[in-house]
Symmetry: C3
Subunit: 176 residues, 3 copies
């Protein structure tokens, strides 16, 4: 079975400057470790909230590193430096608005400010890119809300096959 | 009472190649037959998943055939050949994001992979175009979820007046 | 405490022509008066459904008048003259799709035609712009649905601080 490559891109001025530890990237790794039973390896990148650097990191993770899935964290709010969704849209060939809708709806059950999140998702060639929030707790909530659909999405774009641990997340594949 | 013209556009490489029968187009006709009590006629087209052919078919159905409503089926997923929403956006003057949101939300009660659907809707001149999924069962679920708003939408763009059978769908017109 | 400036932009051919009174603008003022306990002042504009006039009014309210928040009413439906969302998008640097999703979802509990609304929201520099519907009753329903997130959004873009009356709306600020 092919080892899936999963890009983890932390977008944060302060983490990139070494002001604090990147707990968000760690939260993604922990969640994926709980979710996945098939072999995978992480490809990690950390950049500040600069469009050009986010775009370049996304291109490296998808085109050069061949990641099947790329999860970004940070930069999805309304503040002036939050530009991860725009950078994501710039590299994607098609957008999947249902991911953003579903993550905001899930987060709304916790905080009314969830509507301020501009998270989106899209496809570049054989990679699925999903924006996650910056806060570690919210990362898990959002992955809980959408991950059941991720393995089938990767099947459809001919990326690596993912198997999940049903105690944590139940992957759904229509017709199977 | 003016006979409404309803375009049914099946977008499918395999159906267009004659590999299998277009059951999706049939499912749309059956649902409309159950829903509508006012006179209507179907204008049918079948094209492969090619942007230029989808765009041309949409232009023919709206501008040349004068359809009040155009329902597409197929090509709304994340796979490389799925490009119906982009073709739809290309011909529309304004988009109606509430249709996609509501159809995905309705489909989510059946399958978690509903977030992968990129269905949208929009207006071109006096025609409302709505993307439906490819699977016959999902077509009915999506029409159940949004059709109550379709007759009033056609009123607002000065298209044909639709009357519905309240045993199947209850059209809502504010203030009436 | 800085007095917040709140732009109220009524977009309506008939109100602009003096055919009827602008009850929508009044409904916004009444709702804000009930919601806000911190000092604020209204900056009012009324324009017909013309893209150029809406864009100019939005630029005046944000850039020249320095409004922290701009609430538009009218022009968000599918009819040919409804172009407020497009004008809004034209002046915004970033869009906040969660507002439109949440307002449509809230309105759907009252009318199935809520999916026809194309309301959106976005940021221009230090101003948050939100499209509200044209009907006074629907204005209050939409503000009820999203206003809890507005004060924190203004904090994030360094606009004026808003305090709310918890009997009417409970502003939420994460981590506070």
């Amino acid at each position: 079975m092919k080892t899936a490559r999963i890009g983890i891109l932390t977008v944060s001025d302060r983490a990139a400057a070494g002001v604090y530890e990147d707990l968000s990237g760690k939260a993604i790794v922990e969640t994926l470790s709980a979710f996945l039973t098939s072999p995978w390896e992480a490809v990690y990148r950390l950049v500040p909230d600069e469009t050009e650097q986010i775009v370049q990191a996304l291109l490296t993770l998808t085109d050069a590193e061949g990641c099947d899935l790329v999860l970004t964290t940070g930069g999805t709010g309304p503040a002036p430096r939050d530009i991860t969704p725009e950078a994501t849209e710039q590299v994607c060939e098609k957008m999947l608005p249902g991911f953003g809708e579903q993550m905001r709806r899930a987060s709304l059950t916790f905080v009314p400010t969830a509507i301020l999140s501009r998270q989106t998702a899209g496809i570049r060639n054989r990679s699925l890119i999903i924006n996650l929030p910056g806060k570690p707790k919210a990362i898990r909530e959002c992955l809980d809300a959408v991950f059941a659909a991720v393995p089938y999405c990767l099947d459809l774009i001919e990326a690596a096959r993912l198997e999940t641990n049903p105690d944590h997340i139940l992957a759904f594949r229509p017709g199977s």
